[in-house]
């Protein structure tokens, strides 16, 4: 077979393949469907906690010149320049970072600024929304392509896939799912609960729990009476800062005291960026939550 192919054809094929790989590495189709020429990841502006975590996980942390205020992990990012809240970016502020590549969470905005940035000479890669474990894999691969680090991204994606897989294996052993309520904060005696369509809902599902607030859409405050009506068997308290005493606030709610019919309803406290960031730590966070919700299950994911 190989003898019938003339040398120049082989050469051409090799050249074409090489050329193709080179152009794949430089051109990225982002979540908007835009073809972005990304060939210089030397100065990265990373927008979104998940985006930043992925960039760091792929080893490009030292190339990050600026981040948004939702980027809190790893701790090194706290020292980086901040371009503000990701929904309220400013065109000139973003350009002033001197970034050669902008990686942005699906919710970065406002739209006028995103549109103006698209006309600048700086490549802007938008990532997909958090809808499922697959969207995390997709985010990792997209960031990897934009950084020209596909091999590393594929490794990370495979690792995450493996973690999601073992989560699923453990999850299938759950006989009676726990009705859990995820509480974001307690304000004026009312708990802010996570309903459907939230990352919190997705994390509860991954951890093998049923969302006790599935009737709500989005994050909603719930009254004591509604809390009793939801009858959660466990409460997941999310704290934004380590010193926040959200578990104590929840325990003080009259509605909470009426729960469980005499049996104590456990309150599991977890870090907000860790549990709800939906970056590379997501499967581990889900595993840890699962281990706390089901102490008797053998669970390897968290470790």
């Amino acid at each position: 077979m190989s003898r019938t192919i003339p040398g120049f054809v082989t050469l051409a094929i090799v050249a074409a393949v090489l050329g193709a790989t080179a152009s794949i590495a430089a051109e990225v189709v982002d979540a908007r469907g835009e073809v972005i020429k990304a060939d210089n990841p030397s100065r990265i502006l990373s927008i979104g906690g998940d985006t930043t975590e992925i960039v760091y996980a792929l080893g490009f942390g030292s190339n990050v010149v600026a981040v948004d205020t939702s980027s809190q992990f790893p701790p090194e990012v706290l020292a980086k320049k901040k371009v503000g809240y990701m929904r309220a970016l400013s065109t000139e502020g973003v350009l002033s970072t001197g970034a050669t590549l902008i990686l942005a969470n699906a919710h970065a905005g406002p739209p006028e600024v995103i549109r103006a940035l698209a006309t600048s000479s700086v490549p802007l890669v938008m990532l997909p929304e958090n809808a499922s474990p697959e969207s995390l894999i997709e985010k990792v691969k997209l960031v990897g392509r934009a950084l020209g680090a596909e091999a590393k991204a594929n490794d990370l994606a495979a690792q995450l896939n493996g973690q999601f897989g073992s989560l699923e294996t453990v999850r299938s052993k759950i006989e009676r799912p726990v009705r859990a309520l995820l509480v974001l904060s307690v304000d004026g005696g009312r708990a802010l609960a996570a309903g459907r369509g939230t990352t919190a809902d997705l994390m509860l599902e991954l951890a093998g729990a049923t969302n006790a607030a599935a009737d709500l859409n989005g994050y909603k405050p719930v009254s004591d009476e509604a809390l009793i009506e939801m009858a959660p068997q466990a409460i997941v308290a999310v704290r934004r800062a380590p010193e926040e005493e959200i578990a104590a606030d929840i325990a003080a709610l009259p509605g909470f005291k009426a729960l469980g019919a005499g049996r104590k309803v456990p309150i599991i406290t977890m870090d907000a960026a860790y549990l709800l960031g939906f970056g590379p730590r997501a499967p581990r966070a889900a595993g840890e939550l699962m281990a706390q919700l089901y102490p008797d299950l053998p669970n390897q994911v968290a470790r």
Binding site: E92, G93, V94
Partner: protein, 364 residues
């Protein structure tokens, strides 16, 4: 007092208010020019006015060298429209405020009284919150224009409904306008709250930011969107001066002075609603300007609308342009909502003036 002196109810305190006013207007024009130059020259990227020739030549030649694109984008597509937009928004809000205070003969009146702000807020909230579902087709059809167009229509239509309620037999009762305005604002506020309740965290965040105002999304299209409404309001100022001055004495008195009070009331409300609706549409709600700028002008130049209206336009424009420079520089590369900056800069100045003047607000 003769009719002629009533025509221009000047404060007889021995100060040459007219000459003073003229000097103030000139000073205002100069300040606006300086503020505009500063606004185009200052920004987090460090590009200054000296890069302007490069930006213009890049725009003309269509050069796509990175540095040329950068200069063109920052100076011509970001800072210049932003500066002009800030001036239009500030001037519209301040003139509208001055006219409302004159119309209602109430120092606390602002454009919010005729329902523009609450109607615009309701429409904006609805667009942000229901864009994914119920209002989906509308939002998709208008793209990034969905929010400004809705806000404008919401504000303007609310005011028109209010006029419909307050107008009977060709006359508009100011008291009815005021009370019905409060009622409509309450209804719009309740609906806004209801929609805000069903939105999620992120949309709520968007709503909060929108309600603090920002010029970060400025573009030439937005300048074009507000320009006609603002310019119509400015060029009609001379036509309302006499009516507003007359109304300082009372509606009946103004009528006996030969002022077509009803026509003036109608057009003041309509044009104000259009200009404020457009300002809110392109920049969100920026408080403080509409209510305080006219008072600042009155405190320095007296209540004559010949000075108060153009003076408010200039001072409003200067104040918003300067506040916007601060908004983009203080926490650069991030950005502060301009409403916050506005209040932080303006409120102490206002308080200082009020205290120095012995606590008396110059009632319109």
């Amino acid at each position: 007092m003769t009719i002629e002196s009533l025509d221009l109810p000047a404060v007889e305190d021995g100060i040459d208010r007219h000459g003073l006013g003229r000097r103030l207007i000139l000073a205002g024009l100069l300040a606006l020019g300086l503020a505009a130059v500063a606004s185009v020259s200052v920004g987090p990227t460090g590009l200054s006015l000296f890069s302007l020739p490069r930006a213009i030549s890049a725009a003309l030649s269509g050069s796509d060298a990175a540095a040329d694109v950068h200069a063109r984008l920052v100076l011509l597509e970001v800072r210049l429209p932003r500066t002009i937009l800030a001036a239009f928004v500030g001037a519209s809000l301040a003139v509208a405020g001055a006219m409302m205070q004159g119309l209602f003969r109430n120092p606390l009146a602002d454009p919010g009284l005729i329902g523009v702000s609450s109607g615009a807020a309701l429409a904006a909230v609805a667009t942000i919150a229901l864009g994914g579902g119920f209002a989906g087709p509308w939002v998709r059809a208008l793209g990034i224009w969905a929010l400004p167009v809705s806000a404008f229509l919401g504000g303007f239509l609310t005011t028109m409904v209010l006029m419909l309620i307050a107008r009977k037999h060709g006359t508009t009762a100011i008291a009815t306008l005021l009370l019905a305005g409060i009622a409509l604002a309450a209804i719009a506020g309740a609906l806004t709250g209801l929609i805000a309740y069903v939105t999620d965290d992120r949309e709520l965040r968007d709503l909060t930011l929108w309600s603090m105002g920002s010029l970060a999304g400025a573009s030439w299209q937005k300048v074009m969107a507000i320009a006609p409404f603002a310019l119509i309001l400015f060029v009609t100022i001379p036509r309302f001066v006499r009516a507003l001055n007359g109304m300082l004495l009372g509606e009946a008195e103004a009528f006996y002075l030969g002022i077509e009070v009803e026509r003036a009331k109608f057009w003041i409300v309509v044009l104000t609603a259009a200009a404020v609706g457009a300002a809110v549409a392109v920049a969100g709600t920026i408080g403080f300007v509409g209510i305080v700028v006219p008072h600042l002008v009155r405190l320095t130049a007296g209540p004559d609308h010949r000075i108060v209206l153009p003076g408010s336009a200039l001072l409003g424009a200067v104040l918003v342009v300067v506040a916007d420079i601060a908004a983009r520089m203080i926490v650069a590369p991030a950005e502060l909502p301009i409403g916050i900056v506005m209040a932080v800069i303006g409120a102490p100045v206002f308080l200082h003036l009020v205290i120095r003047r012995g606590g008396g607000l110059a009632a319109p």
